[in-house]
């Protein structure tokens, strides 16, 4: 559990970019320079919140300048010249112009720039040798095809529980495609502790290695569905090593 919490923090640390870290408290980050855009369409609509369910309360006309304060999912909080602040959809803001007169350059996540991202997080659930598995991972792309993944997982069974930490190298075969199979190889450590109801209460920590294969399916924006099968080999201190089949499925999201 502690490892999982540590991994959560690590995931946050690697995914929050430097700009976010320096101005992560929004009230303090106000002095930072903001992007300014000029409305090119007849008007853009300002919603009271970041969602289609929130009402339009103001429109900004063509030629007016807006300051973009922040982005939340596919909505942008903008301030118009009289100081009103409202949320604008990405589709509308994409049709505005930079001060240089060029079309607005927004970092819109899409299938086209899927391979360009470097940081990715994943949450998956599944089965590890008969125990229920919860897995949390963070990966960094070394290239379009190769990435390094750090994973923390907990396998909760009827007889014993296991904490697993692994480091793996993943090869994504079709990084620019919606459907992309991948293979991975890795190593790590597994710490197992039997339940209190068990007669033998001996904790054990062993090294493990694994090979696996999986499939990634790009869903939308930063969202990827992911399913994976791994064959684990646990090097015990006994005469025989153990193996554990592992499958899991879940979601990945990139930054």
């Amino acid at each position: 559990m502690r490892r999982l919490c540590a991994l959560c923090l690590l995931l946050l640390a690697v995914t929050a970019d430097a700009g976010t870290l320096t101005s992560w408290i929004p009230f303090v980050g106000g002095s930072k320079a903001h992007r300014e855009l000029i409305i090119a369409e007849p008007y853009i609509e300002m919603h009271s919140g970041p969602g289609v369910g929130y009402p339009v309360f103001f429109v900004v006309g063509r030629g007016d300048k807006v300051t973009v304060l922040t982005q939340r999912t596919d909505w942008y909080l903008v301030r118009e010249h009289q100081g009103r602040e409202g949320w604008v959809t990405e589709q509308q803001l994409m049709k505005t112009l930079e001060l240089s007169g060029k079309p607005a350059d927004l970092d819109v996540p899409s299938l086209e720039n899927l391979a360009k991202h470097r940081f990715e997080g994943a949450v998956m659930f599944g089965d590890f040798g008969g125990a229920s598995l919860i897995s949390l991972s963070a990966s960094y792309g070394l290239s379009d095809h190769l990435s390094v993944e750090l994973r923390g997982a907990e396998a909760l069974g009827n007889i014993f529980d296991s904490d697993i930490v692994t480091l793996s190298l993943t090869h994504t075969m079709l990084p620019n495609r919606r459907y992309s199979p991948y293979i991975l190889i890795g190593t790590g450590q597994i710490h197992s502790s039997p339940h209190t109801t068990q007669a033998q209460k001996v904790n054990s920590t062993n090294q493990l290695s694994f090979v696996g294969a999986g499939m990634r399916v790009y869903l939308t924006r930063r969202f990827i569905a992911r399913a994976e099968y791994d064959a684990n080999y646990i090097y015990t201190k006994r005469n025989q090593n153990e193996d554990a089949r592992e499958w899991k499925a879940g979601f990945a999201f990139f930054f």
């Binding site: 700009g19 408290i25 919140g49 924006r221």
Partner: protein, 241 residues
Amino acid sequence: MESRLRLFLLVPLLALILLGNSGCSLFRHHKPASDADISKGPVVVDSTGAATTATVTEPVLDPKVERRTIKTPKIRRSNFEIGAFGGVLGIEDFGSNSVIGARVDYHVSESFFLEGSYGRSKSGKTSAESLFGNLQILSSAGRNYSYYALSAGWDALPGEIFIGENHAYNTALYFLIGAGGTRFAGDNRFTVNGGFGYRVLVNNWVTVRLDVRDYLYDFDLLGPKKVVNNLEGSLGFSVFF
């Protein structure tokens, strides 16, 4: 006689024609300017109408201007939400107790988000322990209760609430489902959770949240294995960053 005179005049004439065609410098004739000649330089017509060629020279003014690279400010993202909560957790067979916790949310789209949460509580006594004073099922350390949950949420009903005539706040009713682990009575247990919540945005960054969640896991400490339901109600706040 006349034919000799004709011959005398025609021979030098013929000689002159032959010498002229063979390129003798004495009889140089004008050739039209070829393409190669034109390419040497532009033909400039002066005021007198005479065509001359001029060579291309460097411009008179050669400003040494260094181009500035304009750096467009990056748009800050605020998809993460971090917060704390406190409330009441009913631990089946062990009474209701206070709970405190923290949560981190990542908003993937305007309607969906992922949440990681962690909470701590301490269980009370079972009915049997209260009735029979000497009976102690769990030690003090064993009564420590903690859980974590990884959940997916759906903002099903975005809307607004109005307080008086001048104050309107954005809200969202959301549903969550997920899985995680519960550490109680010395063991970790795979736990499924589900519930709903109500988020009120005080402004664009700060939210107040009201959550109701049910945690389900298998429990076999007090007899045969059974599924227990631990209901939690909590009030919390969070900040977008």
